[in-house]
């Protein structure tokens, strides 16, 4: 299963896109030097002021393996492996962000990687980003059921699965991201979630997920870059 770095970044108001472009440029340029740029950026999004905290940026990087994830951390913290370019970027962009909260994610077997998402043509104008909380130890069962029953129900109502991920280091959190081609598709999905056929797959899944889900924090996102950027060809 692939390893991803997920970041919620407190961006300076009106500088979200500048931040996302800045981190995208830095990340892509550094990865290109190592021949790793392709497929390393899943998405860079800006949160819209409709649900959750704003302003906020969301970054999702595909690091693939724990080894590569460790290398990325070494480049910041390990005295003998620090990357001076990262330090330069870090200290030069304090006018764009004030802090954040990160998670390391492990993808589920049914979640496509960047190459797979590209091949399938996943994408859209709006994204639904949910941090799902379960009881401690239940997150695996929830993600298994999501893959078996949830994803077909979600996709049948107009959502496209970007990914479902277990949050590493925790025993009770998952991150689930879905894409909607158009705002109208999101409207159709939400209409079905709240008032669809009670015997339909989506309503059945909505009731079933309550077996595990103890709460959700939701953000609505617009993509600044998704699956590729000028620095992640």
């Amino acid at each position: 299963m692939g390893i991803y770095l997920h970041e919620l970044v407190n961006v300076v108001p009106t500088r979200a896109d500048d931040y996302l472009d800045g981190i995208g440029r830095h990340h892509g340029t550094e990865r290109q030097k190592r021949g790793e740029a392709s497929n390393s950026m899943l998405g860079l999004w800006t949160v819209i002021e409709a649900s959750g905290t704003w302003p906020l940026g969301v970054n999702l990087w595909q690091n693939e393996t724990w080894q590569r994830q460790a290398q990325a951390l070494q480049s910041q913290f390990e005295p003998r492996a620090q990357n001076p370019e990262l330090k330069k970027w870090w200290l030069a962009n304090l006018n764009l962000r004030t802090g954040g909260f990160d998670r390391i994610l492990e993808s589920t077997p049914y979640s496509l990687d960047v190459a797979g998402l590209r091949a399938k043509g996943v994408g859209g104008e709006l994204f639904l980003h949910q941090i799902v909380r379960t009881r401690g130890g239940d997150v695996g069962a929830y993600l298994d059921a999501l893959g078996t029953d949830g994803v077909p129900a979600l996709e049948g109502a107009g959502a496209q699965l970007v990914g479902a991920y277990r949050v590493c280091n925790y025993d009770h959190e998952a991150v689930v991201i879905t894409a909607f081609r158009t705002p109208r598709e999101l409207a159709r999905f939400q209409g079905a979630w709240h008032a669809g056929d009670p015997d339909g797959a989506l309503r059945i899944w909505r009731a079933r997920e309550d077996t595990w889900v103890r709460g959700k924090d939701t953000l609505l996102l617009k993509p600044r870059w998704f699956l590729s950027s000028p620095w992640h060809p």
């Binding site: 009106t14 704003w54 409207a187 009731a207 889900v213």
Partner: protein, 235 residues
């Protein structure tokens, strides 16, 4: 079903008056004109009961289609809509950040038109968040209808009862009192109210806890009492 967008803005220092005025003269008429968003409520939290300084706005949207259209045209730094982006960027003279939630009106929840038609108004409001047993939100919101009837008999009227969208454990309600004195009197009598206590027992299997913030409307809020004319600003 009507959908509501509830926005809470953290104010920078003494910027509340300026931000509320900027909303009243800028974003509110623009959002109504270009997006059909209808302002239901505008005002600020009462710091003695809530985080401060903060302002709150409640918008009514027709349905999910309307909501999705508004989302698709929401501000981003590269939005191609100069009037909106100018206002948005200018608003940061007064505010630092915001948090929002999407509310799904219960079938018995009155719309803005219904509130106006029945003459509901006031200056002092309660914004109540309910933490509900996961998956039991529909049942709890239905129970709020009973509570609304009990509260109406005590001078506290329902502005709206809602499911908080994108959750499975949260409901919301907004209540209005004539004024702050009436809000205080309601609270004074609450602990000894047998009917309310009975209602509370009836939802014990659904409701984990609730928290209520008080808020004060601006004189330009659509639900501000028509008989209370004033040019005062809320700072």
């Amino acid at each position: 079903m009507a959908i509501y967008l509830h926005e809470i803005s953290a104010i920078d220092g003494g910027g509340k008056e300026g931000y509320l005025e900027a909303l009243r003269t800028g974003w509110v008429p623009y959002a109504e004109r270009t997006r059909g968003m209808r302002l239901v409520w505008l005002g600020s939290t009462i710091g003695s009961t809530a985080t401060w300084p903060e302002t709150m706005a409640l918008w009514e949207l027709r349905d999910w289609e309307h909501f999705a259209d508004v989302c698709g045209r929401m501000y981003t730094d590269h939005a191609d809509e100069p009037e909106m982006t100018d206002w948005w960027r200018g608003s940061f003279r007064f505010r630092r950040r915001a948090r929002s939630q999407v509310l799904v009106g219960a079938p018995f929840s009155p719309t803005l038109d219904a509130l106006r038609a029945s003459g509901v108004s006031g200056t002092a409001y309660g914004f109540t968040r309910y933490r509900v047993a996961p998956g039991r939100v529909d049942a709890f919101v239905a129970a709020l209808r009973v509570r609304a009837e009990l509260d109406a008999a005590r001078g506290r009227r329902l502005i709206g009862a809602y499911e908080i969208a994108f959750t499975n454990d949260a409901a919301y309600a907004i209540w209005v009192h004539d004024d702050l004195v009436a809000a205080g009197e309601y609270q004074r009598l609450l602990p000894g109210d047998a009917e309310i206590a009975s209602w509370q027992r009836s939802v014990r299997h659904l409701l984990e806890r609730s928290t209520e913030w008080w808020a004060f409307a601006t004189p330009h809020c659509p639900l501000w009492p028509a008989s209370y004319a004033t040019d005062a600003k809320i700072w």
